[in-house]
């Protein structure tokens, strides 16, 4: 490459290694961006246009009404969410997943942390279950020495729509998981991740 014709020879290997790194975004990201654009979604940094006070009052009233209607019309029922692959047991490999059986955007009925042994990217019968809990996010066993906290945020873990949920895991590396729970990031919090203090663990 003519661009680097003068690159010192001792840096060539590192240059080659860096050039060799390439990531591929998931195929659905492009359509997702177009969808957001189509819905007229503003970027987070955009300054909202000025509105007159009566217009703001009307807008607020319509938003309240829309929220009420949305709540009434929201599809009831349970969802099963399977997210993979993270390092949730502290083992150092991103080969763990979580399966959550929950009321949509509400209480969790079952939460399972698994090791994706077959690298299928989803829970299968051959995977190793590290934790299997019911509705309560209580400790699976007594706290042990070397306990670490692993947090992953923000993903849609409860099928409620936006990627606004965090997953909190307590474990002892490299393979013990003692507690796992999800929490919802408060509405309006512009940060991507939040410490779970004060949040309702589900």
């Amino acid at each position: 490459m003519t661009d680097d014709r003068d690159l010192p020879p001792d840096l060539e290997a590192l240059d080659r290694d860096l050039r060799g790194i390439q990531f591929r975004p998931r195929g659905s990201l492009g359509p997702e961006v177009l969808g957001r654009l189509r819905r007229g979604e503003r970027s987070k940094g955009a300054v909202p246009p000025r509105r007159s006070r009566p217009a703001l009052v009307a807008l607020a009233a319509s938003l309240v009404l829309a929220a009420g209607v949305a709540l009434m019309l929201r599809a009831p029922g349970t969802v099963t969410v399977d997210r993979c692959c993270y390092d949730l047991d502290g083992g150092g490999d991103s080969d763990d997943g979580v399966v959550i059986f929950a009321e949509r955007d509400a209480e969790v009925h079952q939460l399972r942390i698994y090791e994706d042994l077959d690298r299928s990217g989803a829970f299968t019968a051959g995977d190793l279950i590290r934790l299997d809990r019911g509705a309560s996010p209580a400790m699976h066993e007594a706290a042990a020495e070397g306990l670490v906290t692993i947090e992953h945020c923000c993903v849609d873990f409860d099928g409620g729509g936006p990627a606004d949920d965090g997953l909190l895991v307590l474990g002892v590396p490299p393979d013990r998981v003692i507690m796992a729970a999800i929490y919802e990031r408060p509405a309006g919090d512009a940060t991507r991740a939040s410490a779970p203090g004060g949040f309702l663990l589900r």
């Binding site: 390439q22 970027s43 692959c85």
Partner: protein, 182 residues
Amino acid sequence: MSATPERPAAAQHPPSDQGEALCREWYEAHGVAVYNYFRFHVPHVDVAEDLTAETFLKVVRAVDRFDPARGSPKAWILTVARNVLADWRRRARIRQYVSLGTMHDLVFEAPSPEERVLREEEVGRLLDAVATLADADRELVGLRYGSGLDTAEVAQLLGISEGSVRTRLWRVLGRLRGAMSR
């Protein structure tokens, strides 16, 4: 999309369908470069995806500010991406971020799962070393290797000469090599 100096027809005041067409065209041409730029800076796939989406939303809304006489669409989009990253860093500083990344988006035709793991570890070590660099150094590495801009494009984007880009890049690579040997 080529870097020809003609202003895109949709770039005047695009109605929504033209804006959408432009977004699709630019995402197809430069989406991977923007995503890779972010992946050199953030270890989390979902954050990189979010920042990429954010960048293209901003790009379409600000398209009438794009001046092809001042650079290619790719360089302009990456300028927007740099601002998006800077905004994200400001917000991320507010709270502690304890999260671990994954590399399932790494392009690597592995002959076996074990070799893929080894490759992920190797790339992880390299990017961990990149993360120890000063912001300006990381920026240079992200633009050059993440987004794949050539020296001239990096020079234009940073407002410095091509010679300066080369010199700075060699120094950064030297520091990176030092960081990796520690």
